[in-house]
Structures are given as structure tokens and as C-alpha cells.
């Protein structure tokens, strides 16, 4: 496969509970020369709730778009727009994903074992609200503009992130557990960013507070205990050293914890 393949049709096929044979006949797009599912995949099994995509690569785009219940496991990489507007269930990519994955996420869980591209959990073009619910865990690095306009939910990135994470964030929680983040939380209104190492912030935009025992932090840690062991260990091993509030430019009252 040299060219992008539009996988958004997957949800509709699963929802319609059509037979495997019929599913293989479904056209993947409305182009006249469109491929059928069967041209690329062999459909087998009976479980509509647990989909496994084998031998996936970065050209399969939009896997898990609008996904509501059940799991999708992607063996290999996935392309851009993975889990776009996902509403429930779990999408697990055992590799990297492309740009704008988890865009407009509205519930459920997206787990990425390797890296994610730009605009992870960001807003769809023209939408005022980005990720609105749900959880994204990236075990590798993530690109720029992560969590743009995010409103609710949780994003955790174990590795490094690109410039402008949590730009125009409305609310929600983002954990940046890797290296230094560049200009996170610009124009953030509310929300919590937790940085494992001191981020590069515009000094005029954020006010630094001394952070001594924070009740909410404890609640958050005990919540994370139920979610993911590795993150929980990181959080518990250190308590927040600093708290920044901002973005003052827009009278924001978001917070950035440095642990």
C-alpha cells in the first residue's frame, strides 16, 4: 500500500453486523475506482466487539472513527485520524499513529504503544471544542499541538511532546511525563497540565506559585492508581514542586504542575 486508505467505514460495517462476506464487498470510498474491503483485508471471525487489524501500517487512516463500544486492536502502526471522534470502547495501537489521532475524542480510550503525530486529541477544523471526554495514553513521544482546545478527559504522554501542547485548552488533564515541553498551555483557559520536567513557558504568561501539599493532587494520584500503574508510580514518587497559573494573557486560570 503506497497511498492512504480511508478506514472510516469500519464503524459502519461493524454497526451493521453484516456477514464477513458482505463486509468484504463494501466499497471503502465513493470514488468510482474505490477498493473493496476484500481487496485489502481478509475478514474473519464472528466477534463484532473485538476487532483486530493485522499487519497495519501508517497508511490506514481513520481507524476507529466514531467508535462506540468494543475494542479495536491494531497490530502495527496506524495512520492519521485514528480514533477520530471516538465515543467509547477502546482503540489500542501496538505501534505509532499519524497526525490528528484522537481528534474530537468524546469518550473511550485510545492507547498508543509507540509515538503519536501532531494534533493528538485536538479539535476538528472549525470546532470550538477539541477532545471532550475519554482517555489517551501514548507510551512514546507526541507531536505538536497536543490537546488543542481540549475540554475534558485525560491525555498522558510518557515521552517528549512538540511545541504548543494544550494550546487554547478549555479544561481537562494532561500529563507530560517526558522531556521539557515547549510553550505548553498557551491561551489555556482552565485545565491541568502536569509536567515531569520544567517546561519552557513564556514568563509573562504564567505566574509561578509555591506548591505545598495540595489536597487535589492526592485525590488525583489515588484516581490514577486505578488507571495505570506506571503513571501512578511516577506521580507518587514525587509531589508537585511548583504550580504555575495562567494563561494570564487571556485571563486564564489553568494550572501547570511541575513534579
Amino acid at each position: 500500500m503506497d497511498f492512504p486508505v480511508d478506514m472510516r467505514i469500519l464503524k459502519k460495517i461493524v454497526d451493521s453486523r453484516m456477514s464477513n462476506k458482505k463486509a468484504e464487498q463494501v466499497l471503502m470510498s465513493s470514488r468510482p475506482d474505490a477498493l473493496r474491503i476484500g481487496d485489502l483485508f481478509k475478514v474473519s471471525g464472528k466477534d463484532h466487539q473485538n476487532i483486530v487489524i493485522e499487519n497495519s501500517n501508517a497508511k490506514l487512516e481513520g481507524i476507529g472513527t466514531g467508535w462506540k463500544r468494543g475494542t479495536i486492536k491494531v497490530i502495527g502502526n496506524a495512520g492519521s485520524f485514528t480514533a477520530q471522534s471516538q465515543r467509547g470502547g477502546c482503540v489500542h495501537v501496538e505501534g505509532s499513529v499519524g497526525d490528528f489521532s484522537g481528534c474530537g475524542l468524546n469518550g473511550g480510550q485510545l492507547v498508543i504503544d509507540a509515538d503519536a503525530g501532531n494534533g493528538l486529541g485536538a479539535s476538528l477544523p472549525g470546532e470550538k471544542i477539541g477532545m471532550n471526554e475519554g482517555r489517551i495514553v501514548v507510551k512514546g513521544n507526541a507531536g505538536s499541538r497536543l490537546g488543542n482546545r481540549m475540554r475534558r478527559g485525560l491525555i498522558a504522554v510518557y515521552g517528549d511532546v512538540g511545541v504548543g501542547a494544550c494550546c487554547s485548552m478549555i479544561s481537562g488533564t494532561v500529563l507530560l511525563l517526558g522531556g521539557q515541553a515547549n510553550l505548553p498551555g498557551t491561551h489555556m483557559r482552565r485545565g491541568t497540565i502536569i509536567c515531569a520536567s520544567e517546561p519552557s513557558l513564556s514568563a509573562d504568561s504564567f505566574f509561578e506559585q509555591v506548591c505545598k501539599d495540595n489536597t487535589y493532587w492526592n485525590i488525583f494520584c489515588s484516581y490514577m492508581e486505578g488507571c495505570n500503574e506506571r503513571i501512578h508510580q511516577t506521580l507518587l514518587s514525587c509531589s508537585p514542586r511548583k504550580r504555575f497559573v495562567g494563561d494570564l494573557k487571556i485571563h486564564g486560570m489553568g494550572e501547570i504542575f511541575v513534579i
Partner: protein, 548 residues
């Protein structure tokens, strides 16, 4: 080539035909009288049992121009790519509040409309409006030129220039912008808003030019009747949407001094201040004024529930409602010292008192204005609702029990405030044909449109009768445009280019000598680059001009 449409039941109010079974003959693009018996007929269309009407005419629908384009941009994410809808049942319905030109043309044709008027062509934006309308297939189009907020006109008025000069200016502008009628949008108000005046009543002076909306309406109606334009001043009155604005609407009618005047989307201008919520219907007063004065005509601008986007040149009114925007975003523009533009997305909700009452007021207007020739069927697309709701609206007018069923689904307070539950009137097919065909054509002076007499342009629509009028009008069996079958059973089979309808006017070219320095002094375009020629229309813009 001679075609006959045989045995259809004809509703042709312009020729007084009310449901008679007759044959219609089409020769190339025109309807012709019954030919001699020995003449060969090439093609027979069987219309037995069908309702036959002329092609629909929408007198007020925002289908082109900069503001529609901004609205498209803002609402772009409100529809899903088509191919993802294919597994859904209902993918043919257009979900976009302001569809693209291609979809607009197709959807109008599917509803049996063949002619459509863009009611707010801003002079400097006229070229874009015509470009967009030329890209709207299947529809003939025309534009109303927005005047009454442009600096030059206001200045002439403030300087008490003589009527001849005003008249020449209006005629020159109409000619230069290839329009068919003149529209006044919140006369003086858009300009006043640029000078930070937030409200301007009909008798209130503009803070900079010192003239009142009343004066503007008076001078424009005078100019229009002097020029001899068929369509009266197409007026978007002052104080749109403000409770109690029916007073301004009545004052505007008075300001016309007995000259013909058309009130656009009058539903938005018929509000009172009674009741505990200080918002009520004033349709009684408006309907009385219309019923007692045959020189007044209105289009309703009916509201339907759901997501839409309001677009208007009335920056002043639009800016007032920007906090009600849903989704919360809005675009405004001050344009070239001529007009403005405001785009505010809006969601009308049936359980919201104000929205429900707006819905009821629209119906009250339709049902209490006695003469169907004085009222036209519009939703002020997309401001009240998309034009795709027309069949539903027609059903509301023709079917009282359906209307009453709908009443039970809306806000109860609004039902109590409204009189529609007591109105038993039901529109007949003949009257619907007046509202949607014959009336608009007569008002715009289009002698060969909107009727099925010999010599008319062969725009013919065949409907199959059914219990539900919504179904009847939503799915015409056949739509013929200019003698060519364009839609058969909902399927588009031809996509002809439309033409631009305009009115030819005379003016003293002396006005050009005065305008030229004005352009050089005040504007950022030159006089010679402003005018749109017929040649440009047909060769570069792509729409041939038809003079009326």
C-alpha cells in the same frame, strides 16, 4: 421540437386557471398555443392525474455573495462526507445550513424551483454574487441591490440633493451591478452602526448624516417609481428582532407615502411587547396594515426548528444577537462604506418560548393576510430555515389538523400567546401557486415567468397528488426548465446553466461625471472598474443576461 404535456390538472393563477385539465405545448424553450391539428408532435409527456404548475420562484433567498460564503466557511463542519452516509437511509437530505452553489441548484430543482432571487447584493460585492449565482446550476437568478446605507446616497440625501440626481444614482447603480430591484436593509442603520449608533428607529436621525430611515425609504421608493422598476422597494425594516418592532414596521409603510413597498421577512418585524415575557405577536396590526393597503406586499421569512445560520447585511441587528449564537461564533464585516454583513449561527428550538412564538407568528401572517397576491412564501433562507423546508411549510398552510398536531409539540406558553389554534383557514393549491409562482413573478414584473400561458418560459413542474402535501411538494415527478427536463423522479438528469434576470433602466449619464471623482476621492476602486458589463456577465462570469 414540439412537446405536449397531456391531461394534467393545471393550476395557473396568473391566467385564472384553477385546477382544469388541459394540455400544455412546449416549443423549444417556450410554452405555445395549441398547434394546428396536423402539426407533428415530437414528444408526449403523460400528466394524467398530475398537478401541473409553473416553475417555483423564490423571491427572497440568500444563495450567493460574500456573506453566504462566510456562512459556508463557518458551518463547514456541520456535514459529514457523503460517502460515510451511504450506509444510512436518508443521505439525500441536504444537512448543510448554507449549501454550496452546486447543492443549492440541485436541491432547488428537486423541489420544482427554477428561479431564485438573492436579496442582498452589496454593490462592491455584486461581482462575487453573480459569480456564485452563475455557478449555481439549474436556477435562473437575479439580485436586489442593497442601497440606503452607502455614503454617497446618504450624503446626497443629507445635502438635500434633487430627486433627479438620486434617481439617476439609483438607476446607475442598478445598471452597473446587473440587478433587478433595490433593497434597503435597515435603512441608514448599517451606516449608523459604523458610527457606533447601536439602535436607529424610523424617525431617529443618523448621528453623522442627520437623516432618518424614514427619509431614506421615502426617497428610495420615489426614485424606484420614477425609474419605473417593477418590484417595489424590497425593505428589510429597522429594528429587526426587537420586541415591539411592529411599530417601526408600520412607520416604514407610512414612510413610503402610499408608494408600493415590499416588506421582507416580515415575521422578524411583527413583534409586540405584551405578556409576562415582554414578547408577543403583533401580526394583527401588521396583517391589518397589509389587508388595508394593496400597495404593500410581504414575504414571511418563516422560522423552522433546527440548526441554521443567520446571514444579513444588517450588522446592527446581527451584532445585537451575537451572544445568542449557537454554536458560539459570529462574523461581522463593515463593507466599503456601502453596507455590512453579519453571520450568526443559530438554533431555533421548539421548546424555547421566543423561537416557538416566532414559528407561530410566521404562520399567523400567512393565515391572516387575506390576499395571497400580497404575500410570498419564504423562510428567508437560511435565516429562518433552509429552503428545503418549503414542502413542510406548505403542508402547515394547507393542512389544519397537521398544523394543530405541530402546535402540541412546541412551547406551551407560546401556544397560549398565539391565535393560530383558532384559525381554520387552509390554503388551496391555487393559492399556493400564487404564493410560490404567480405572485413573485407579477411583483418582479416577469411577464413570461410564473405562469403557463402561451409565450411563457417553459418552466413546468408536475406533482403527483398524495395525502401528505409535504410529500407532494418535496418530490415532484418531473421538472422542466426552459423546455428541458431537468429532474425526473428526484433524479437530476440535466444541469443547464442559469441566466441572470435584470431590469433595463434609463438614466442621465451626467451622473457618471459626478461619481467618478467620488470614487477617486473616497473609494479604493476606480469608477471604470466598478461596472459589470453584459459582456462580462456572459463571457467571464458565465451567466447570460435577460432584460425585463
Amino acid at each position: 421540437m414540439l412537446t405536449v404535456i397531456k391531461g394534467g390538472t393545471i393550476y395557473d393563477p396568473a391566467n385564472g386557471i384553477n385546477g382544469e385539465v388541459r394540455d400544455l405545448y412546449i416549443d423549444s424553450d417556450r410554452l405555445v398555443p395549441c398547434p394546428a391539428t396536423d402539426q407533428h408532435i415530437d414528444h408526449v409527456i403523460d400528466a394524467h392525474g398530475m398537478i401541473v404548475m409553473a416553475g417555483g420562484i423564490d423571491i427572497h433567498s440568500h444563495i450567493g455573495g460574500g456573506k453566504a460564503n462566510i456562512a459556508r466557511m463557518m458551518m463547514a463542519n456541520y456535514f459529514e462526507p457523503e460517502h460515510l452516509n451511504e450506509l444510512d437511509a436518508d443521505h439525500s437530505v441536504c444537512k448543510h445550513a448554507v449549501p454550496s452553489t452546486l447543492i443549492t441548484g440541485k436541491e432547488y430543482a428537486r423541489l420544482g424551483y427554477t428561479l431564485c432571487f438573492e436579496p442582498a447584493v452589496v454593490p462592491s460585492n455584486a461581482r462575487q454574487a453573480h459569480l456564485e449565482m452563475a455557478d449555481t446550476p439549474l436556477l435562473d437568478t437575479g439580485g436586489y441591490l442593497v442601497l440606503g446605507n452607502d455614503d454617497y446616497f446618504l450624503k446626497l440625501l443629507a445635502e438635500k440633493a434633487d430627486a433627479q440626481k438620486l434617481r439617476d444614482y439609483v438607476a446607475w447603480m442598478l445598471d452597473a451591478t446587473q440587478c433587478i430591484a433595490i433593497k434597503a436593509v435597515n435603512p441608514g442603520g448599517i451606516s449608523a452602526f459604523k458610527f457606533n449608533q447601536r439602535k436607529l428607529d424610523v424617525d431617529e436621525p443618523h448621528s453623522h448624516f442627520g437623516i432618518t430611515p424614514g427619509q431614506i425609504v421615502r426617497s428610495l421608493t420615489t426614485a424606484i417609481s420614477d425609474i419605473g422598476l417593477s418590484h417595489p422597494l424590497h425593505t428589510h425594516c429597522s429594528n429587526l428582532g426587537i420586541p415591539g418592532n411592529f411599530g417601526s414596521t408600520l412607520s416604514t409603510i407610512n414612510a413610503a407615502d402610499g408608494k408600493p413597498i415590499h416588506l421582507a421577512h416580515v415575521q422578524f418585524h411583527s413583534y409586540g411587547t405584551e405578556g409576562k415575557r415582554k414578547f408577543s405577536s403583533a401580526t394583527l396590526e401588521i396583517a391589518q396594515a397589509v389587508n388595508s393597503d394593496s400597495s404593500v406586499s410581504v414575504d414571511v421569512g418563516h422560522v423552522m426548528f433546527g440548526q441554521t445560520v443567520t446571514i444579513s447585511a444588517d450588522t446592527m441587528a446581527q451584532f445585537r444577537t451575537k451572544d445568542l449564537a449557537s454554536p458560539n461564533k459570529s462574523t461581522f464585516m463593515d463593507i466599503e462604506c456601502e453596507a455590512g454583513c453579519g453571520v450568526v449561527p443559530f438554533k431555533y428550538r421548539s421548546k424555547n418560548f421566543v423561537n416557538a412564538l416566532q414559528w407561530a407568528i410566521g404562520l399567523e401572517l400567512f393565515l391572516t393576510i387575506d390576499n395571497p397576491w400580497q404575500v410570498f412564501l419564504t423562510t428567508d433562507h437560511p435565516n429562518g430555515a433552509s429552503f428545503t423546508t418549503y414542502p413542510h411549510l406548505i403542508r402547515l398552510l394547507m393542512d389544519r389538523s397537521f398544523r394543530n398536531d405541530m402546535l402540541s409539540t412546541i412551547h406551551r406558553g407560546a401556544v397560549e400567546m398565539s391565535t393560530i389554534k383558532d384559525i381554520s383557514r387552509e390554503y388551496s393549491l391555487y393559492e399556493i401557486a400564487v404564493l410560490t409562482r404567480a405572485g413573485p413573478a407579477r411583483s418582479l414584473g416577469l411577464k413570461d415567468r410564473g405562469h403557463l400561458g402561451a409565450g411563457a418560459v417553459a418552466d413546468v413542474v408536475l406533482y403527483r397528488p398524495a395525502e401528505n402535501w409535504d410529500t407532494v411538494f418535496r418530490h415532484p415527478v418531473l421538472v422542466i426548465k426552459g423546455g428541458q427536463t431537468v429532474v425526473r423522479n428526484g433524479e437530476i438528469i440535466h444541469m443547464p446553466r442559469g441566466r441572470t434576470l435584470r431590469q433595463g433602466v434609463d438614466f442621465d449619464s451626467g451622473i457618471e461625471k459626478e461619481l467618478k471623482p467620488h470614487f477617486e476621492m473616497y473609494r479604493t476602486t476606480r469608477f471604470s472598474n466598478f461596472k459589470i458589463s453584459d459582456d462580462e456577465m456572459s463571457n467571464a462570469i458565465g451567466s447570460d443576461v435577460v432584460y425585463y
